[in-house]
């Protein structure tokens, strides 16, 4: 026991969530060392970002990525964290608190940050296993325990949280139904038109949306068994393996009420965040201020500042709620709303619709000022509208053009950022303006996004403004940014991807151990994240020289087949330009019969996928396929995948060029090449674009005059249409541009970065300068690519079948049964 008497005052925080820890951070910022701080948290984890539970559910983030304050942070700041114990009593007279496990502590100042509880519908069957809420990391874990492709989920509540849960479960492959009480989705954030577009978009993703739907009860086999269906009042019965209730939250004020603090819906606080007991402050979702409760993060950050000012006695600020905007965190759906978006009497609407692109924007004006905004399908100007809304200035001539966005002529994102006024809000979650960020960069010599995060909190919550912050860094410190800033590859090193690649080339590092030695790796042999990246970088840097390290390949690239969830593999032979022959199909049919392959499926890339092949059979399957002339399709690799084509002028009455032959030629030239991520090509024979070339990494579309070359498309989670690289006239041009483009991508993109985000990062102009404007560079890139191909174009299936030492890995080492 520590016998020295601490002169410091004791601060206890009840609640280890975002609101409580933000207040602690604000207090430490103002007066480090003023308090001995103890934090009680009911959840067993450190403080994590509750806003990011949806991406956690969707599998877009890991738990580690959403932790806000690690255990090290508590240690470093001398905070005593008591996680996993909720506080069940406060003795206000003796100023002590008592935990459920018996821990007792005394306080000088107490801060309640107990948050809120999800509202549970009091309906029959609500206690069945499988019926849950969506509020904590534990909830997400429970959902993921049930979630599986093909299983059915019902989400009750079509508000912000419910739809994010539905989206996450949908991405996990579940069949999702959304049951919403009101006639339109997200009625608190969207008007009917936008809600309708949202409903359409979600339905297209396979969700079943039931609006004006009232839940009757949750059904199961017998009284105590798991839920298997949701019955609606109108008699509709929806099958369910999992039911998620997201019908709202209510302040968790139980403890405060029990110990006699003034409470209404929440713990009543004054403008200084003080409760009816002057030694007790409260903050966050558990409080009620001026009859208003809060669930969004921006006003809560304001509360944290005010509470910290008063707890430390540093300033006499007051909490005044500001207008907040809402975004939906569903990838691929852009949506923003703020203010009085429904308008009504005395209000004037300015509306813009683009049906083809699914865009709807509505600005609500009153007295020539902007009072409300809804954007759907295109929320690029949301920040600007929000600023106008908060400024409350007369719009004047802006009124005529504002619906088209801030600056319709500015297509370069860097210029657009430069044009923002200093007061423009960059980070909506934390209310950080451009001016604050730029000042911080200048005053503290900030060099990286992480620096900006630590100093200003910008992009520290949901992270959707990271690009803007990067833009501001570039604007402020120019070229210094790229060099000094980038995130490290993984925890094994302090170096970023680009830096490592530069060293590999400049220092002639030619093996993984050499890189790790020279760049002072912190781990003996890296990890599953950096080793595959290094293996690729070395392969790309030293063609013909570097010996591929099989143990640094992800299983699929080591086994030359795609691992499935049951540990079997799928096998996809190459079909040049999507063409095949009777002989090839016969060989495939024979292989399927001979090896009892359970599923045969046509892929999106115009090939045949054989699924469920046992590891031990792989080599024999390949031998039979090889005998018919079929080779590996690399459907498992960060490599050139398919070249999709339409039939083109050979058969099609609309075709203008022979797209099939062009596709075959491209595939013959590019197969076998390794890349930072998978690469897909397509060739369409006319602008009708049946080969969907405009969502491919490199797309070729025939015109009467020649070929249009498109780059950076993606049809995955985040759909991105290609950018037009240029137009060319001859077949030889297509080949040269394609090879040069692929080489530039291989040499400059970071591992696991597809062409779409790479182009968004470096800009189309950059790629055009290298590939289109500079013919010398184009020719040399093309030559480099073709040189590397002389080493890459060997069929791995033939190699693995022939080599006995390599072949060992497909068989058991010993059989003891």
């Amino acid at each position: 026991m520590n016998m020295t008497v601490s002169p410091r005052k004791k601060l206890i925080v009840i609640g280890n969530g975002m609101a409580g820890m933000r207040t602690v951070e604000e207090i430490l910022l103002r007066a480090p060392g003023m308090f001995d701080i103890t934090v009680f948290g009911a959840e067993p984890q450190p403080n994590y970002d509750r806003i990011m539970l949806s991406p956690l559910l969707a599998g877009e983030k890991s738990f580690e990525q959403i932790v806000l304050n690690s255990y090290e942070w508590y240690d470093a700041n001398g905070i005593d964290l008591i996680a996993g114990e909720h506080v069940d009593w406060i003795d206000r007279e003796h100023k002590t608190v008592r935990g459920a496990k018996g821990t007792q502590r005394s306080y000088d100042i107490l801060l309640l940050a107990t948050g809120s509880n999800p509202f549970t519908l009091p309906l029959p069957g609500v206690n069945r296993p499988g019926v849950m809420t969506f509020r904590s990391a534990a909830d997400v874990e429970e959902m993921l325990g049930i979630a599986a492709p093909g299983k059915k989920a019902v989400v009750i509540g079509g508000g912000l949280l419910g739809l994010e849960a539905a989206h996450g479960l949908n991405l996990r492959g579940m069949e999702v139904s959304v049951v919403h009480l009101m006639p339109t989705l997200m009625e608190r954030q969207l008007d009917a038109s936008a809600a309708h577009l949202l409903e359409q978009k979600l339905s297209l993703r396979g969700m079943n949306i039931h609006t004006s739907a009232n839940t009757e009860c949750f059904l199961g086999e017998d009284a105590d068994s798991s839920v298997n269906a949701v019955l609606l009042k109108d008699g509709t019965c929806i099958e369910a393996d999992l039911v998620v209730m997201a019908v709202g939250i209510r302040p968790n004020a139980g403890l405060a009420r029990a110990v006699g603090l003034a409470c209404e819906r929440g713990v009543v606080v004054d403008d200084y965040m003080r409760t009816s007991d002057p030694a007790i402050y409260a903050i966050g979702e558990c409080v009620e201020h001026n009859k208003q409760c809060y669930g969004l993060v921006a006003p809560i950050w304001d509360m944290a500042k005010v509470a910290a000012d008063h707890i430390t006695g540093m300033a006499q600020t007051s909490f005044t709620p500001v207008t907040t905007g809402t975004r939906l965190k569903v990838s691929g759906i852009e949506m923003f709303s703020a203010g009085d978006f429904l308008g009504g009497q005395g209000a004037e609407d300015v509306v813009f619709r683009d049906a083809a692109r699914g865009i709807y924007k509505r600005l609500v004006l009153r007295d020539e000022k902007l009072v409300g905004v809804v954007c759907f399908g295109d929320a690029r100007d949301a920040g600007w509208y929000f600023q106008l809304l908060k400024d409350q200035k007369k719009l004047g001539t802006l009124r005529e053009t504002m619906i088209f966005g801030q600056a319709p002529s500015l297509t370069d994102p860097a210029e657009a950022i430069a044009c923002l006024p200093d007061g423009a809000e960059i980070c909506g979650c934390n209310g950080v303006t451009k001016g604050t960020i730029c000042t911080a960069i200048a005053e503290h010599g900030l060099k990286s996004v992480d620096d900006v995060r630590t100093r200003t909190k910008a992009s520290a919550s949901c992270g959707s403004c990271t690009n803007l912050v990067e833009g501001l860094l570039k604007l402020s410190i120019g070229t210094e940014f790229g060099a000094a800033t980038v995130k490290s590859m993984c925890k094994c090193t302090i170096h970023g991807h680009d830096e490592v690649r530069r060293h590999i080339k400049d220092d002639s590092l030619k093996t993984i151990p050499a890189v790790m030695q020279a760049l002072e790796w912190r781990t003996p042999n890296g990890c599953a994240s950096c080793r595959p990246a290094l293996n690729f970088y070395l392969l790309a840097a030293w063609p013909g020289d570097y010996v591929d390290d099989a143990q640094s390949r992800f299983v699929n690239e080591r086994m030359h087949a795609n691992i499935q969830k049951d540990g079997t593999y799928s096998v996809i032979p190459r079909m040049w330009g999507g063409t095949t022959t009777a002989g090839e199909l016969r060989a495939i049919a024979d292989v399927v019969d001979k090896f009892n392959i359970p599923t045969v499926k046509i892929t999106g890339g115009q090939r045949v996928d054989m699924l469920g092949v046992r590891k031990e059979d792989l080599r024999a399957v390949w031998q039979d396929l090889n005998a018919a002339g079929l080779v590996s399709g690399h459907g498992y690799g960060k490599a050139l995948r398919t070249v999709k084509t339409c039939v083109g002028s050979e058969w099609c009455r609309f075709g203008t060029q022979d797209s099939t032959s062009m596709g075959i030629a491209l595939e013959k030239a590019t197969w076998g090449s390794w890349h930072p991520h998978k690469v897909k090509l397509a060739v369409s024979g006319c602008p009708r674009n049946c080969a969907e070339a405009t969502i491919k990494d490199f797309g070729v579309v025939a015109t009467e005059a020649g070929w249009d070359l498109h780059i950076g498309g993606n049809g995955g989670i985040k759909v991105r249409a290609t950018d037009l690289l240029c137009k060319v006239t001859t077949d030889a041009d297509v080949m040269e541009y394609a090879c040069a483009f692929l080489q530039l991508y291989r040499m400059e993109a970071r591992y696991l970065e597809r062409t779409a985000p790479w182009i968004e990062r470096v800009g189309l102009k950059y790629v055009q300068e290298k590939i289109v404007d500079n013919s010398e560079l184009r020719k040399s890139l093309c030559a480099d690519f073709l040189y590397a191909q002389t080493f890459a174009q060997t069929d791995p299936w033939a190699e693995e079948s022939a080599c006995n030492t390599r072949g060992k890995k497909y068989d058991a080492m010993a059989e003891l049964v």
């Binding site: 042999n525 599953a528 143990q551 640094s552 969830k565 540990g567 890995k809 080492m813």
Partner: protein, 109 residues
């Protein structure tokens, strides 16, 4: 199923060279497939070839230090204890294995 106690059989399952450094091979047994891992320092470890998460084949993962990353969902499993690392929770049964004179000897309970 932890094979650290009550060892009955010690079986020679092959040569150390049969496993690539930082690689793994499997052994078929009545307990199911057992994955035999070889580290960069030529230590060997044996775990049931099933990730505690979704039963992914750990033998197909990337070996680093004395851990393996499952190929299905990137759980990191300690080769020494069979325990999931980081915030994931779960444990894979382990078996006793050693190398003598270049031969890999597996003990089964």
């Amino acid at each position: 199923m932890d094979g650290m106690n009550n060892v009955k059989n010690i079986i020679d399952i092959g040569a150390l060279e049969d496993i690539a450094p930082l690689g793994a091979r499997t052994v078929t047994t009545t307990f199911g497939d057992i994955a035999i891992f070889r580290t960069a320092d030529d230590d060997v470890f044996a775990l049931l070839d099933e990730c505690p998460h979704k039963q992914g084949p750990l033998s197909q993962g990337i070996v680093h230090g004395t851990s393996v990353t499952c190929p299905l969902h990137n759980w990191v499993i300690s080769l020494q204890s069979g325990e999931a690392q980081g915030l994931d929770v779960g444990c894979t049964p382990r078996f006793t294995v050693k190398v003598e004179a270049g031969r890999v000897l597996l003990s089964l309970p």
